[in-house]
Symmetry: D2
Subunit: 343 residues, 4 copies
């Protein structure tokens, strides 16, 4: 069955599987001390242009958000996020489970504003009993956001300035980082991202890996004894090589960005296919997730032959659905979709 249900419907990019097979019998130490993790970390430090960066490999996104956030803030601090942020909504309370509040800011198309951060902190300290409230301890944004949108360089610079002025570390959730960087609307590089935050992660699971997220502390600022903290969160893989080999491959010959570029191109085709047929978009997304408004009858009919995601109710007769692309999406898939729409 044709599927645009998500960017994790298929396994790994073939290059990754190939490398896993090639390296399978080489003896390696565990827990991330293998040579592949070391090589991958070196390549990532190079790619992000931060010689003093520290790189760690974790398994999945929620685990990464939980481990990074809750080891960077103090007991009675919370993390500021968009009310639509993944940590606010779709992580089953993983942040709260480790003792911290997610402080939500209003968003527009999944994005928060630098001014909202500054204003929040200002109002916070105006409150005479602010000590009885959760202290704002850091800021979390996603790039791209949960709605597929991206921050411009100017917007990110402003956010990072607001963070620095208020002594709030900035963390960028890059579960789909590649799709943001390769978007035609993007005016930033991977190095820009690394220069404009304190920590971010390079998402593997949704960008061609079987699993894995590479956390980058951009300036030697990893929490002390971070390996032990990963372990405490169940985030330290015994066969760390599984992550090392994958990221080593993704950061060889620009594979990570090439995969991302392909998915963006496929998304642009999908956008064209729907636009040409008069469909409306819920959000103007420049990345690999496209949010289309379908009338419910059409939706039911399409569902018989193609997988996509329910996003939210639009009105009584319409629904917002999501079509996602990835390294595995082909032009044939899009043509098949076109045919189904025209049927």
């Amino acid at each position: 069955m044709l599927s645009f249900a998500s960017d994790y419907i298929a396994g790994a990019h073939p290059e990754i599987l190939k490398r896993l097979v090639e390296t399978n019998l080489v003896s390696q130490p565990g827990y991330g001390s293998d040579e592949y993790c070391q090589s991958a970390a070196a390549k990532i430090k190079e790619a992000v242009g931060r010689p003093d960066a520290e790189v760690f490999f974790l398994v999945g996104g929620t685990q990464t958000n939980q481990t990074v956030i809750t080891t960077m803030i103090d007991n009675n601090e919370g993390v500021i996020a968009a009310e639509t942020g993944h940590v606010s909504t779709h992580e089953a309370g993983a942040i709260e489970h480790c003792g911290h509040k997610v402080i939500t800011l209003p968003q527009e198309n999944g994005k928060i504003k630098a001014s909202s951060i500054s204003e929040y902190v200002k109002v916070y300290y105006e409150n005479e009993s602010f000590e009885h409230c959760v202290f704002p301890g850091m800021v979390y944004i996603s790039f791209p956001t949960e709605y597929g949108t991206i921050y411009s360089k100017k917007e990110l610079e402003d956010i990072y300035s607001a963070c620095k002025e208020n002594s709030l570390p900035l963390f960028i959730d890059g579960a789909r980082l590649g799709y943001g960087l390769e978007s035609y609307a993007c005016d930033m590089t991977l190095k820009d991202i690394a220069a404009l935050c304190d920590v971010f992660y390079i998402g593997g699971t949704k960008v061609g890996a079987l699993c894995g997220e590479a956390v980058v502390y951009t300036h030697g600022n990893a929490p002390k004894r971070f390996i032990g903290k990963m372990k405490q969160h169940g985030a330290l893989l015994a066969k760390g090589r599984l992550l090392g080999v994958q990221f080593d491959t993704l950061f060889t010959d620009n594979l990570y960005l090439n995969i991302s570029k392909h998915a963006i191109d496929m998304a642009e085709l999908i956008k064209k296919v729907f636009s040409e047929r008069g469909y409306s978009f819920f959000i103007d997304s420049p990345t690999n997730q496209q949010f289309i408004i379908l009338d419910n009858k059409k939706m039911a009919e399409l569902r018989k032959d193609v997988d996509f995601s329910y996003w939210e109710k639009y009105d009584d007769d319409h629904t917002v659905v999501r079509f996602a692309t990835s390294w595995s999406t082909t032009e044939e898939d899009i043509k098949a979709l076109e045919a189904l729409l025209d049927r």
Copy 2:
């Protein structure tokens, strides 16, 4: 200095101190097994009209909210509360510290609606990936609310129905319960409250005690081994008699409600004093907290002679302030206030 800063500016009602002195030398076992706690619990069960109720004495409000809520819900459940609820805003993240999200609903004058609860649950389960979201596990409301307002009997019945339909226990934070019950606007008794929720607490600290809150599980539904859970939260007092004697006194000769009635009468006088002089109220509060809009110059002038609380900024020239009454407020205090306003 004249003070309306809060309902905890003075010590305890003199009857309570008297009883503490009288009972001081009687040997008693610790940790709530003393005869005063037992007597107080019996009187409370009688007063609330629930023979199968279970009563526990804790020390303060935040501690009580934390202990009650986080021992009643499952790991990945959160508590639904008004976005202005005390647990949402003024408890330094005490709920999150114990692992649970506070799920906020929109409020009006501090109150949430039964329909908001039902709607929240409905939309929650419509989400295809609801399992990735925090489950709604119980509902928290305050009576009176943080804005001094109260629910009508009809409103509370509707909320409790919505809770029962959705299998959500209802918890009422009664830090200022007496002031709600004795409000002229209130159409409920203590027994009504007890019949319309699963657990609530009778606030002592803000209603004449030195400290102490009496938690009432209304129908034999206390979490098993609750004493041990109180201990784990640092909420089990060695000299439990301190709480027992206070609540035993408060529930002798109707002292709890009499104190509350007095504070309400004083609040009505304050309301009259400000109304007659043309001041506006931020909220029409029928309880012991009055929220008045002062122009900033007047506020600065008044502050020299009388204590009250900053509440929030109203506009560039005006501020919302709170005047609170309690058992210790006198008619002379109000007259002095009047004189200051007319100065």
Copy 3:
């Protein structure tokens, strides 16, 4: 009924009640900012001889241990304690509840050795996979211990040296601090204690107060935003005056130590009473808790007329019981006990 069941069988020392009555109507701000807390803190800083100390008033012992320990150590650190330490055994898992392991060391009569600390840390780092183990983050001892024993000055100096060598802050649980300091076996003063640890608390509940423990950070080393952290733990009393007045009284005219001295004298009498009659002691305790071995028949007989605590089974025919004294124990009580033993 005659009672030696604990040091919290009676209410407060009469001086304390008197001051509570006298100050009852004075308007004060809440949450520890009242003048009594300020005065008490100043007196305590003076008494402990540490001008740069920071003093906070909490309500009970378990709450204090939980709040102090879990705000001083990092996420994957644990607290080292004797296997008989209060935090290890009798706090219902309060430390673990906040995310931290209690690492237990062997004890003798409730005491741990400096060498055990150093050895533990040494072996810890010899382990090749030490990063997978809980890091030792601080050391907790009780003075007196749970068995009524006390550290000598030399022992405490050695422990504090071992702590400093290993960068482990030292916390002394002084729930019964006065009884340790006034023991005839004690070679330390309050100032010595304050000079030989990073943080300790002066127990009020068990030394004449209704409730309350005064935490002393000895050298300006309180965790930042400690008030907010107390709030988060439900440990910040609205009517903080209740604690302020009590400690202000206890630190006026040496009341705290005088009370303690009295209890020690009463304990020495009890010791004499039992010794003279040939009873054995489970432990040679120089403080206000005496651990006596009773044959079970005698124990049952005595229980009819006098309250004491079960401690542990000694053998099939004998039981260890605890007799405790406090400010409220009188010579008449001891004489009554004597008569019962001779009956």
Copy 4:
């Protein structure tokens, strides 16, 4: 370099990689709802002989222990484990991080006794203040243990009886389950294991998979909403297929047990090689981990050519080291080891 450092030095069994490659392009839904997870779960239910079992796939051992244990016990309960249990020692405080104490029992060769469990519970309730102590909430054992030893059927039956008598669920950590079952000393089958506990996991990471542990609730007793709880712990893989394909392969044509049998045979050879040369064993292990006492000089010499694990100091001149085998160990490896020893 020759390596016996652990059972996770190589990648996955080739059959697993083959299946990953074959299934790579098939579109599948995420989060464990893919067809491979379903097929693997069905095969596991068949293999364990429990039609009412519930099977979940998690990523690693510490994560699994944390998620299973802390979702099965109540707030103020702890988990009973051997003092050498993995959860007690090598998980960086993962259990405590989620709020629960690990209650340790004495062990012999890594094993606890049924009688220790019963005795612990008995003494627990004899304590008059047991409510102030952590309640024993469940029992954790490892099979094989951290010392490579295994329980006999009789021992496990007794333990499970003791658990049932005391209403304590029994959880078996089967990180190396296959190596226990295929040990020549084992008198149990996989079905026996499943019949003698409430929940266990079938370790993948150390038995031929790249990662993955299959949790089996043996009688429809999974905590409600377990998927959401996995998510909250960061234990729900987006590409769940990675785990499904691996376990589906491991449970096809008996691969899981065949791999295990091979590793046991290799371990027996290692045992023979060292025995014949007069080396002593620290523990008589019948599974894939062999603990050998080496004199330090020999150890240093061997280390140049072969990898093995430091276990613990034996005496000033000797060290305990661990040699582990797995699916990837070959007879040639053993011969090479033999040659090195005879060099």
